[in-house]
């Protein structure tokens, strides 16, 4: 904990593009206020680089309030810096000391190809969602919202899972590069709720099979994802997905039938 302005040594991964070689480059930032956010500290460094005519460090960020899931960064080997329930944009410099050396790398995984410096392509997360992360409910069909009663504990548990921001920290920190936590959270959320339950088996099969084809690794229950998740999502949701998948693999059956009529 620091309350005075600091000087920090940074080692930041620089890589021009996916095709080129990358390396850790040393930077020094002075006058870092403890009230700065981690990304504001990088902003300050980037301003320095621009003034010197150098290429600023590319990194993803947007809302800067911990909800959009755009910011990433492995800080000292830990996704989002390793603080409980915190995204990189919410990490504040008062957590560091004058003279600290901080190593900053992109989120790495086979499923997340690098774009530039600290920015990676997390499109694989969308692809898993496209495979079934929804309830097939077209606009205009809905019955009254209170027509379907959902017990509070169930709604709360679904909300725990739904809190996922799709940042990919679970994948980046997983020793296997597996996407089970973010996928499990969605499958679990929709399996818990009566709205999502009817297509639960189909969803589990399609999402898991899509996940497997995108370069994500397999889960071996390290639970590193759970410890890293900035929204504190539990691996209980992975267990629920495992259950849903097991059930679906041996019971779900879809025949193609003609739907023609007079």
């Amino acid at each position: 904990m620091s309350s005075e302005n600091m000087t920090l040594n940074l080692k930041i991964w620089r890589q021009k593009s996916a095709a080129s070689e990358g390396k850790l480059v040393d930077y020094r930032v002075e006058n870092v206020s403890p009230d700065m956010s981690f990304l504001e500290m990088i902003d300050v460094l980037n301003e320095q680089l621009v003034r010197k005519g150098e290429d600023p460090i590319a990194f993803d960020h947007d809302c800067r309030e911990g909800i959009c899931g755009m910011c990433s960064m492995m800080i000292d080997g830990k996704a989002h810096g390793g603080y409980k329930n915190t995204t990189t944009c919410q990490v504040h410099m008062r957590l560091y000391k004058n003279g600290d050396t901080i190593v900053i790398e992109p989120f790495r995984a086979q499923a997340f190809p690098l774009i530039k410096d600290l920015a990676v392509d997390r499109g694989a997360i969308d692809k898993v969602m496209i495979a079934g992360g929804y309830v097939t409910a077209n606009t205009g069909n809905a019955p009254d919202a209170n027509a379907m009663l959902i017990p509070k504990p169930i709604a709360d548990e679904a909300m725990d899972a739904a809190a996922c921001i799709g940042c990919g920290a679970c994948v980046a920190s997983c020793p296997n590069g597996s996407g089970m936590l973010f996928m499990g959270a969605k499958i679990s959320q929709l399996a818990l709720l009566p709205q999502g339950e009817p297509e639960s088996p189909r969803r589990a099969l399609n999402m898991v099979h899509t996940h497997d084809g995108l370069g994500f690794g397999n889960c071996t229950n390290h639970a590193e994802c759970e410890a890293t998740c900035p929204k504190g999502i539990s691996i209980e949701h992975i267990a629920r997905m495992n259950r849903e998948y097991l059930k679906a693999a041996f019971t779900y059956h879809e025949k193609t039938r003609s739907e023609g009529g007079a």
């Binding site: 530039k116 929804y134 209170n146 679904a158 909300m159």
Partner: protein, 639 residues
């Protein structure tokens, strides 16, 4: 060019207008729908819900977003909730009351027919979102729970912890994912709209920049939906996301879409105060906190005691004192202004002396820490992470910040701008909130526009408009693309000394100081003059490193700031021309003796609609007169 500002609001009784209009709208038959292509720019609540709903109807949708995924649009950051006239708590709510609250909350500067429709479809939104699996908060019996928000005396706000915007956005996003899987939506991530292409006066496509490769791309369609959000980032510091910008809307403005009420900006009272000049954005603390938190300042100016050391009789709970019937839940514009009065009187607290306290001491004593943690735990944690203070022990310090822009591109009842085929949804349009938006209404409007309004009105446009076949080989596409490339190379060639953020911060200072919470003639003139000079300097001295052919974040920022430097001037001009105070627009010259906004309904009961006339000539101010048939114009009072 004469612009047509016919609101096209249907005739008839207020409560029948929308159903009558829907019935009278032409339809496109199912087989023909697949022949139409619609571009949707933005994937927030408005864009996401519109893209999903139109694709469900059978249109081919091309969807564009600036982030790496549609799930990251800034609607995600809305915390508190979404309003709907369900009247589940049996506390006297109705469509009419939500309509009335919204009109009054907007200080009588919005269009009656639009607002009524908004209130009318509000209930359907909740039904729709629940059916998509949004885990709204529930009671033990399984029924939906409600809370209260500012500017209303009923509990009509539905919520999902402090992450309502996220849950609704993920609902709309899931609808999009479903339609992507069916091949009806083609998604384009990391694209920024650079220009609108009009052919024969109709919107027929867009030019976008691929933010990774830096290349420009052209897309043609039969209609364009602009769902790109507001322009709060013109202030540099706001609660908007870093990439939230005005460029898409601004370029449409330059292509003939009129801009309405640009000066109507919402300053939200409960944000975390600014720490230093390195600050990149401001973080909102949900308005829902004012359900239980009490706002106060010390009665004595320059009181440096710790909050706990100040006894109750020396505290000024000024919202409760000035507005006894609404108390801490007074609307945002009013609460922000009262905070400003307090620190103008020297009673502000915190290192900058510009904050006020939001105190949970009494709520914790009344309900217990558990209950308060259950309601606001995640917000308290967020506050502690940012400031290092524990709100369970010491009051939060809050400060007003730019949060939302009520102004936007002018649209008629069909959400169509003055450019045929260009429809504008959500915060990007000006339609429903008048001069001030009530809490939990932005989510409602975005989803109403996307789910329930546009599917009907866009079909009518497509069915009733002759649309010749257009490809991106048309010369209008080439010209627009060339103009974008020219601007890019110009920005890169300046190689000046000041960074893009330098200019943006300087613009922000002008905006906050003179076009912010309170405005006056001299200040606005100063701002106009200053912004003009700043803009000239920008085009002479900005430093954009790198080249166009890669992931060049400084270049992307520079193009946005160039547009902000033009928009800022128009906002100041609009504020200068509106010689009254209303809602978020407070002109010091026009106030009641007790410091409340004084409207001038005789001269300003209209939307100011600005028409672009070229780079070197002044824009023309048109008026859309607002006719109030159902609501009696009255002085807005929350006392």
């Amino acid at each position: 060019m004469a612009i047509n500002l016919d609101p096209k609001a249907p005739s008839g009784d207020l409560k029948d207008k929308w159903s009558k209009h829907k019935f009278e709208s032409k339809l496109v038959n199912p087989a023909n729908k697949r022949k139409f292509t619609v571009i949707v720019v933005g994937t927030g609540l408005a864009g996401g819900s519109a893209a999903a709903s139109l694709a469900e109807l059978g249109y081919n949708v091309l969807s564009f977003c600036i982030q790496d995924s549609a799930r990251r649009a800034h609607s995600i950051a809305a915390q508190g909730g979404i309003n709907a006239a369900k009247n589940y708590p049996n506390d006297g709510d109705s469509i009419k009351r939500l309509f009335y609250d919204t009109i009054k909350g907007g200080d009588y500067r919005s269009r009656e027919a639009n607002v009524y429709r908004l209130a009318e479809v509000s209930s359907n939104i909740i039904d729709q979102m629940v059916s998509q699996g949004v885990p709204f908060a529930r009671e033990y019996g399984g029924y939906l729970d409600n809370r209260s928000f500012g500017g209303s005396q009923v509990s009509r706000t539905f919520y999902a912890r402090g992450q309502t915007g996220q849950q609704l956005l993920l609902g709309a996003y899931s609808g999009m994912m479903k339609m992507i899987s069916k091949g009806k939506i083609k998604m384009f991530n990391r694209r920024e709209m650079m220009d609108l292409v009009t052919i024969n006066g109709k919107a027929r496509g867009i030019i976008v920049k691929n933010l990774i490769t830096g290349e420009t791309e052209k897309y043609a369609a039969d209609a364009v939906l602009l769902c790109t959000g507001g322009y709060g980032n013109v202030f540099y510091l706001s609660t908007n996301a870093m990439t939230s910008n005005a460029s898409a809307a601004w370029r449409c403005y330059k292509r003939g879409a009129a801009f309405a009420n640009p000066c109507f900006t919402q300053i939200h009272p409960t944000c975390i105060p600014v720490h230093g000049d390195y600050q990149s954005k401001l973080t909102l603390m949900s308005e829902s906190l004012r359900n239980d938190g009490r706002v106060w300042v010390p009665k004595k100016p320059n009181d440096t005691r710790k909050p706990a050391e100040i006894p109750d009789e020396e505290r000024d709970y000024y919202l409760e004192r000035v507005y006894p019937s609404f108390g801490n839940l007074a609307p945002r514009d009013i609460s922000s202004r009262q905070a400003k009065y307090r620190y103008d009187e020297g009673k502000g607290v915190g290192p900058t002396k510009q904050a006020v306290y939001l105190d949970f001491r009494d709520a914790i004593a009344r309900d217990g820490k558990e209950v308060i943690a259950g309601k606001y735990g995640n917000l308290f944690e967020m506050y502690e992470r940012i400031t290092g203070d524990d709100p369970y022990k010491t009051p939060m310090m809050i400060y007003p910040a730019v949060h939302y822009t009520m102004g936007g591109l002018w649209v008629d009842y069909n959400l169509q701008s003055t450019v045929p085929g260009l429809h504008v949804l959500g915060e990007a349009n000006f339609s429903d909130h008048g001069a001030n938006r009530l809490g939990a209404s932005a989510l409602m409007q975005g989803l109403a526009d996307g789910y329930f309004v546009i599917p009907s009105t866009l079909s009518h446009y497509l069915a009733s408009t002759p649309l010749e076949k257009v490809t991106t080989d048309a010369k209008e596409f080439k010209e627009a693309e060339e103009a974008v490339k020219l601007q890019t190379s110009k920005l890169l060639s300046i190689k000046g000394k000041r960074t893009v953020d330098d200019f943006h911060k300087a613009l922000g200072h002008y905006m906050w100081d003179y076009v912010g919470m309170s405005r006056n003639e001299a200040g606005l003139k100063k701002a106009i003059d200053g912004i003009r000079k700043l803009r000239e300097e920008f085009w002479k001295d900005v430093n954009v490193p790198g080249d166009a052919g890669n992931f060049n974040l400084e270049l992307h920022k520079a193009a946005r700031v160039a547009d902000f430097l033009e928009l800022g001037e128009l906002m100041a001009l609009d504020a200068l021309e509106r010689n009254e105070s209303c809602g978020g627009h407070f002109r010091e010259e026009y106030q009641t003796p007790d410091g409340e906004a004084q409207r001038d309904d005789a001269n300003f009961a209209h939307a100011a609609v600005w028409e672009y006339t070229g780079p070197n000539s002044s824009p023309i101010r048109h008026k859309e007169e607002l006719k109030f048939e159902y609501v009696q114009l009255a002085t807005r009072s929350y006392k």
